[in-house]
């Protein structure tokens, strides 16, 4: 089976995972509706062109290295950024190809489960969350994101060990959580860790510039809550910069309407789970208000004759 065929077959395996895949893209605003329609027309045109042999796109291969200085004689954390991105009208399809190499004795069923969990969690957290805008042309691209497992080549080689253990970008265990695979694959998109690490110079203390405690996928979600972990706008912007460097274009990133709707529900839950007046409650209320303003809730409320009053 070719890599392309393997990618096509991936969703069936993913259905076995214990997380939900995002629903197919649905228009949430008039602007999104228009974009959806244009996208459909565009895809048909592209498909026709491809069938007629008039179009031969080659995905852009992205390869970078990230480093983070450590204290004392510990050297650096060094991450490998590697994926491909394929632009079509209205979509940018990001694919990370991983070659998973199980240790002897790791059962095939366990390997399949790891793959399914990784695919599903990565898609849940990254797929259809951002729109990339080309600053030169003002073209918008829905960022689709997926991981596929390959048997040769690929962007990243990952060793899969039995049992549980300390995971890193290229060493996984069959009992690691699905969200941990998504976290590690996010390093392959160029994301840095965001939890406190006294040995990492930018993250030595809770107030260090590289530390975030806002339910980030790259933060300490074990304590903050795995269910509330999400990709942040800064991650989309960082990814836009990485893609821009590889394609010699300049992109900005913003959330898609479905992503903001998901975030609104999530952050309302975080707000309501905390005591009124507490610091986490205040922070969550501010996040909810920011999302509501981004979604034009105040304007829509006013138009409906109900003035917008943020919930504290």
């Amino acid at each position: 089976m070719s890599e392309r065929e393997a990618a096509t077959a991936a969703p069936a395996a993913s259905e076995a995972a214990s997380v939900e895949r995002p629903a197919p893209l649905q228009p949430a605003t008039t602007a999104d509706q228009l974009l959806m329609l244009q996208r459909t027309v565009g895809n048909r045109a592209v498909a026709r062109a491809a069938a007629e042999g008039r179009l031969a796109r080659t995905p852009v291969q992205v390869r970078e290295t990230t480093t983070e200085r450590r204290t004392g004689s510990l050297g650096v954390y060094q991450g490998r950024t590697a994926f491909e991105i394929d632009f079509s009208p209205f979509e940018a399809v990001l694919t990370v190809k991983i070659r998973l190499v199980p240790d002897a004795g790791v059962a095939g069923g366990a390997v399949d489960q790891v793959k399914a969990d990784a695919e599903a969690n990565f898609a849940r957290l990254w797929d259809n969350k951002f729109i990339l805008r080309d600053q030169a042309t003002n073209e918008d691209f829905f960022l689709r994101a997926r991981v596929v497992f390959v048997t040769t080549g690929g962007h990243l080689r990952v060793r899969l060990k039995a049992g549980d253990g300390d995971i890193d970008q290229t060493t996984w265990h069959v009992q690691d959580l699905g969200i941990e695979y998504a976290h590690e694959i996010s390093h392959t998109l160029g994301m840095n860790d965001e939890y406190v690490d006294p040995t990492a110079v930018p993250r030595r203390t809770p107030t260090s510039p590289g530390v975030f405690q806002d339910h980030s996928l790259m933060g300490n979600y074990f304590t903050e809550g795995t269910a509330e972990a999400e990709v942040k706008l800064r991650h989309g912007q960082e990814l836009a910069a990485v893609v821009g460097r590889a394609t010699r274009r300049r992109f900005t990133a913003r959330f898609t309407a479905p992503a903001q709707a998901e975030r609104l529900v999530r952050w309302r839950g975080i707000r309501d789970a905390n005591t009124l007046g507490s610091a986490p409650r205040t922070a969550a209320a501010a996040e909810v208000e920011a999302i509501e303003r981004d979604m034009l809730i105040p304007e829509i409320s006013a138009a409906a004759g109900r003035p917008y009053v943020p919930t504290p």
Binding site: T66, E68, R70, G72, S73, L74, G75, V76, Y77, Q78, G79, D164, G165, D166, I167, D168, Q169, T170, T171, Q175, L177, H183, E184, H187, N192, D193, Y195, V196, D197, P198, T199, N220, F222, T223, T226
Partner: protein, 143 residues
């Protein structure tokens, strides 16, 4: 000399072996195992501001066996063979003390394959002392 001290771990009450893994604000947190020549064993768990200590004992036979495994697998001689660690690959600290004197102290990336036998011993003793609450049991949840 350090290897000989390890091989006689149960016969010198002044000796302490320390193996520390992880980091406080990530996954299961920082888990520090201290095995004393007296047979007393401590597991210190620091996770996101919370601190829990566990205590247990090893008999002389268990101490001798542990010391031999550690010595045989380079506890006292391993040094880092690279200056880069992968994202989330934290340092493992190995330390051998006699009283207040630090005889050996080294930090290596957790993924260094030479550490595997030493980390297997760390895991075995930590599970024994914490009744499997650590390193990957209920005290490490939601891991």
């Amino acid at each position: 000399m350090a290897d000989e001290i390890l091989e006689r771990l149960g016969s010198d009450p002044e000796v302490t072996v320390v193996v520390s893994t992880g980091t406080e604000y990530w996954r299961a947190g920082e888990i520090t195992l201290r095995v004393h020549g007296t047979g007393a064993v401590e597991v210190e768990h620091r996770r996101s501001g919370e601190h829990t200590d566990y205590n247990g004992t090893l008999d002389r036979g268990e101490l001798a066996e542990l010391g031999n495994v550690l010595a045989r697998n380079g506890f006292a001689t391993l040094t880092p063979d690279r200056t880069t660690s992968r994202p989330d690959e934290h340092a493992v600290t190995l330390e051998l003390r006699r009283g207040d004197e630090v005889l050996v102290r080294e930090q290596l990336p957790q993924g260094d394959e030479r550490l595997e036998p030493i980390l297997a011993e760390h895991r075995r003793v930590v599970e024994q002392v914490t009744d499997s609450a650590l390193p990957y049991g209920k005290a490490a949840a939601p891991r």
